[in-house]
C-alpha cells in the first residue's frame, strides 16, 4: 500500500535535489524580487510614515510576482521528457504530488522572503511599530495561500498554450481575498495602528478552503489530458 506521506517526502526530496542542481527557480526569483525592490525605491521617495503604509502592498506584490516564476518552473520540469506520465501510470496518490510541489514552492518562497525582507526594511527605512512577531503567522499563512492555490492553477495551465501567461490570469483574481488580507495585516503590524487578527483569521480561512478544494480536485487535474 502506497501511503501519502512517504511519497510526498520522496517527491519533495527529488524536487529539492533538482532545484539544487539547476537553481532555475531560485535565481530568477531572487533577481526579479531584487529588481522590484530597487525600482520601487527609486520610483518613490516616501517618508518613514508613508513607507509603513505602502510597504505591505509592495512587499507582497513583489513576492507574488516572484512566486509565479517558481510556480511555472515546478510543472515545467514534469513536462520535460513527459515524466508526469510516469507518475500518472504509477499507483502513487495524486495528492502526494500536489503536496510535494506545494511544500517545495513554500520552501522556495520562504527562502526568498527571508532574504528579501531585510532588504525591504533597509531600502524603505522601515521600523515595526506593532507586534513584530505577528509578521510570522502572516508570512506563513500568506505564503501558503500563494503557493497552494498557485501550485494547483499552475498544474491546470500546464497543458495550455501560453501557460506562463495563463497562470497569473487565473491566479491573481482568485488570490484577491488572500492578498488583501496579507497587505492589510502587514500594514497594521508595521504601523501599529489597530489589530490584525481579523485579517489573519481571514487568511487562515482562505488557506483552509483552498487547500481542501485543491486536494479534492487535484486527481482530476492530474489525470486530465
Amino acid at each position: 500500500m502506497n501511503s501519502l506521506w512517504p511519497i510526498t517526502l520522496a517527491s519533495l526530496a527529488k524536487d529539492i535535489r533538482l532545484e539544487w542542481r539547476s537553481k532555475d527557480a531560485i535565481n530568477s526569483m531572487l533577481f526579479f524580487s531584487l529588481l522590484v525592490v530597487v525600482i520601487f525605491s527609486f520610483s518613490f521617495d516616501p517618508t518613514a510614515e508613508e513607507s509603513r503604509e505602502i510597504a505591505g502592498g509592495l512587499v507582497w506584490v513583489a513576492f507574488l510576482f516572484s512566486a509565479i516564476v517558481a510556480l511555472n518552473q515546478t510543472w515545467a520540469r514534469e513536462l520535460r521528457n513527459q515524466v508526469l506520465d510516469a507518475y500518472r501510470v504509477s499507483p502513487a496518490p495524486a495528492n502526494a504530488l500536489f503536496l510535494s510541489k506545494a511544500f517545495g514552492n513554500f520552501i522556495l518562497v520562504t527562502l526568498l522572503e527571508a532574504v528579501m525582507a531585510p532588504l525591504f526594511m533597509v531600502f524603505y527605512n522601515l521600523r515595526v511599530l506593532g507586534a513584530a512577531w505577528e509578521l510570522i503567522p502572516v508570512g506563513i499563512l500568506g505564503t501558503w495561500a500563494l503557493v497552494a492555490s498557485g501550485t494547483f492553477f499552475a498544474a491546470m495551465s500546464i497543458r495550455t498554450r501560453m501557460r506562463e501567461v495563463m497562470l497569473p490570469l487565473i491566479l491573481f483574481p482568485l488570490s484577491i481575498p488572500a492578498i488583501q488580507s496579507m497587505v492589510e495585516a502587514t500594514r497594521i503590524i508595521l504601523s501599529g495602528d489597530g489589530n490584525p487578527r481579523f485579517w489573519i483569521v481571514l487568511l487562515l480561512t482562505y488557506d483552509v478552503v483552498f487547500t481542501t478544494a485543491c486536494l479534492a480536485l487535484f486527481e482530476t487535474v492530474l489525470q486530465a489530458e
Binding site: A10, R17, L18, R21, N81, Q82, V89, P91
Partner: protein, 226 residues
C-alpha cells in the same frame, strides 16, 4: 510458458480529440505471455491505443479491461515506456529509479540495481541521464518500466533514434522478458527488427485494427477487420 487466456480485452474503443477520431471502434483480445507488435502509418492510432491501454488516454467510448480490472486499477501489473524517456535529465539513472521505486512502494536500492543490470547498464554510473547516449537512455527508460516487475509491458517506439546494435540488444532483452512470461506490446516503425521474435503483428489503419498476422507481412489493401 504461455497462457492463452485473454488478459487484455478492448471493446469498441473510440477516442476522439475534438472532431478527430484517433480510434474508431477498436475491439480485440490479447493473450498472456505473447509478444505483440503494433504497426501502421503515422496517425493510424498506434500510440493512442497504447496510451489507452496504459490508462493515460481516457476512451471517449468503449472499455479497456486488463486482468479484469480498469487500466488504473491494474497499474501495478503494467509497465509503460514512451518515446520520450520519462526520466529526469538532471539525475543519474540510479537516482531516477530510486524515486520511481518509491512510487510503487519499493524500498531499498537492490531492486533498482537489479533493474539497471537487467538492461545491461551499470548501476554505479553517476552521470546524469541528460548526458547518456540515446541508446543508454532508452535502456534506462526500459529499466524504469520493468522496475516493479509488471506482467504486461507497453513500449512506444523503444528503438527510435537508437543505433542498430543497441536496438538488437534491446530486442534480445525483450525476447528474454517474453520468454519469462511477460506480455509485451511494442509500437514501432522498425518491425523488421522483431521478425522471428514477435508472436503477432497488429496492423492499424485510420484508427482501426485491420489485420493481425503471425509474420511481418503487409496485409492486402482493404483487408477486413478481424
Amino acid at each position: 510458458m504461455t497462457d492463452t487466456a485473454a488478459i487484455i480485452s478492448v471493446k469498441n474503443l473510440i477516442k476522439q480529440f475534438g472532431r478527430f477520431a484517433a480510434l474508431r471502434g477498436v475491439s480485440a483480445e490479447f493473450s498472456a505471455g505473447r509478444f505483440y507488435v503494433i504497426l501502421g502509418d503515422n496517425g493510424a492510432g498506434k500510440t493512442t491505443l497504447l496510451r489507452a491501454l496504459a490508462g493515460l488516454a481516457h476512451p471517449t467510448r468503449g472499455e479497456v479491461s486488463i486482468l479484469g480490472k480498469s487500466p488504473h486499477q491494474a497499474c501495478c501489473d503494467v509497465g509503460y515506456m514512451a518515446h520520450p524517456s520519462l526520466l529526469y535529465d538532471e539525475m543519474s539513472g540510479m537516482e531516477n529509479l530510486k524515486y520511481f521505486a518509491r512510487l510503487y512502494g519499493i524500498s531499498g536500492d537492490e531492486p533498482c540495481r537489479q533493474a539497471i543490470r537487467s538492461v545491461r547498464l551499470d548501476p554505479a554510473l553517476a552521470r546524469p541521464v541528460g548526458q547518456y547516449s540515446q541508446g543508454m537512455r532508452q535502456r534506462m527508460s526500459l529499466a524504469r518500466a520493468i522496475l516493479h516487475d509488471p506482467r504486461i509491458l507497453f513500449l512506444d517506439e523503444p528503438f527510435s533514434n537508437v543505433d542498430v546494435h543497441s536496438a538488437q540488444e534491446m530486442v534480445g532483452l525483450l525476447k528474454g522478458m517474453r520468454d519469462a512470461g511477460k506480455t509485451i506490446f511494442v509500437v514501432t516503425h522498425q518491425a523488421a527488427l522483431l521478425e522471428g521474435v514477435a508472436d503477432e503483428f497488429i496492423w492499424m489503419q485510420t484508427g482501426q485494427i485491420v489485420d493481425r498476422t503471425a509474420s511481418f507481412a503487409q496485409p492486402a489493401a482493404g483487408a477486413p477487420q478481424p
